[in-house]
Symmetry: C2
């Protein structure tokens, strides 16, 4: 192919790498693609990394050795995370979100793709050290959030189903009691969705008593996989004692008052500082 | 701020624009961010656009006028689309995917984030001219695909629920007969999920008789929104007459033979050429 100008190559590299967060690309791959020497590409990577870091847009990580290469790691500054979570808390505190029964309407936020991309990257940053092999959630409202988290980790998503669906083959099921409905429900996982021995990170939109997360942890145990962590977008402050011992919440819901129409929801970090 | 080198600015611009496909950014916004003149930024955009196009990574679109700006449009070459769909067809033809009842196990593919990013971009390219305001799907397996399509369009996602969920407020429900199960089922849409008068594009993972898509179209009619198109990842060749008049399928499933373990699935374009 014709010689590619450095600036054109760097634009293409930036796009390809940031399009697949966490995916390892070998320098040989890019060397073929652009007809450039690996040493030249290494210099390109330094330039890209510096620029991404300078503007808080993430970073590149180099893995050395024969199976090595370079990958994009999404990363946001604490400042931009706090800003986003504060905006989100303000949005969720709009009085018209209160639904009969004291529920909070969150669907428009949960199904907003570009918002969920950002929340997924925040979970990647906060929980990346847990090194999961899969991201797991339960249908339905947490799926977009969990999918975008899986994207930020470059991992497959596993969706626990309510009831057992015929089109996914043999499944393992358990009964659990959801904290909000207090009813006995069934959740199931197709046998072939996950390999036993794997490590999973649970991601969900909302946690009250933690019954649903507890159910997922028990189900994971039944199929021989280990839950290494649980991340939720919103957790309620009460009950303080949840059915799961450890979890990370980005926002804490303190109160929904159906009569005064006041919603008290705050970023988790701020809530902790207030204690 | 310090003067930003051109190459650093271009890397950051590439990342910011391609991170939010379809999102319009004003030059003024970037001018503040980088301390660069709009004319300089315009030149940067030309360079970025040319490079993205050269490598088949999408393009930039400039919107002129006071409310104007620039946005990234994901776009793949026909060649790379065909390559991806052929790979996908090969993967889906693996004999171990056959489940009792003649179903095809597709969950691992449907819940693979980076694959769904690509399929979403293909739908954006093939159905972008329909100019929808929302992407609509029904729970559960089509959600990742629909979400990534919504991302490629920079549109909100609307998820039709099976049954009526208390936490989303008043909902409109209809009964429908799913082609695969032949059972009467209920689907519902929260009143506040979508504005009446809006145009929606339906995206789903699988279509056999089209009963589910038909249900969504009827439900859309009940809430006063117009369905401008239907896109599915896989459609079965039989029944040839579906309950929806027009739809776009990326792959056509010709046959699943439970006895010989042969699966015949082909990209839709190739299937059409063969007729």
């Amino acid at each position: 192919m014709n010689k590619v100008r450095r600036i054109e190559r760097i634009i293409a590299l930036t796009k390809i790498l940031s399009d697949m967060p966490g995916r390892l690309f070998s320098l040989g791959h890019f060397s073929n693609l652009f007809g450039a020497a690996k040493s030249t590409l290494s210099e390109d990577m330094v330039t890209i990394k510096e620029s991404l870091q300078q503007f808080g847009l993430g970073t590149l990580e180099t893995v050395s050795g024969a199976a090595g290469g370079v990958r994009f790691i999404p990363s946001r500054s604490e400042e931009s995370i706090n800003e986003l979570l504060n905006e989100l808390a303000d949005k969720l505190a709009e009085p018209e979100r209160i639904i009969q029964g004291g529920f909070l309407y969150m669907t428009d936020i949960l199904f907003n793709p570009s918002l969920m991309v950002q929340i997924g990257e925040i979970f990647r940053k906060k929980l990346g050290h847990l090194n999961p092999d899969y991201i797991m959630t339960v249908e339905t409202k947490g799926i977009p959030l969990a999918l975008m988290t899986a994207r930020a980790f470059d991992l497959p998503l596993v969706i626990v189903r309510q009831g057992s669906k015929v089109t996914e083959g043999p499944a393992v099921s358990i009964n659990y009691v959801s904290g909000s409905s207090k009813r006995i429900q069934t959740m199931s996982l197709p046998r072939r969705a996950i390999q036993s021995g794997a490590k999973v990170l649970i991601i969900d939109d909302f946690m009250k008593a933690g019954g649903t997360a507890r159910g997922m942890i028990d189900l994971a145990g039944e199929v021989g996989v280990e839950v290494v962590g649980t991340g939720v977008l919103v957790a309620t402050v009460e009950p303080a004692k949840k059915l799961v011992e450890e979890y990370s919440a980005l926002l804490i819901l303190h109160d929904v008052d159906q009569y005064t129409k006041k919603i008290d929801i705050r970023p988790a970090a701020m809530a902790l500082q207030a204690n």
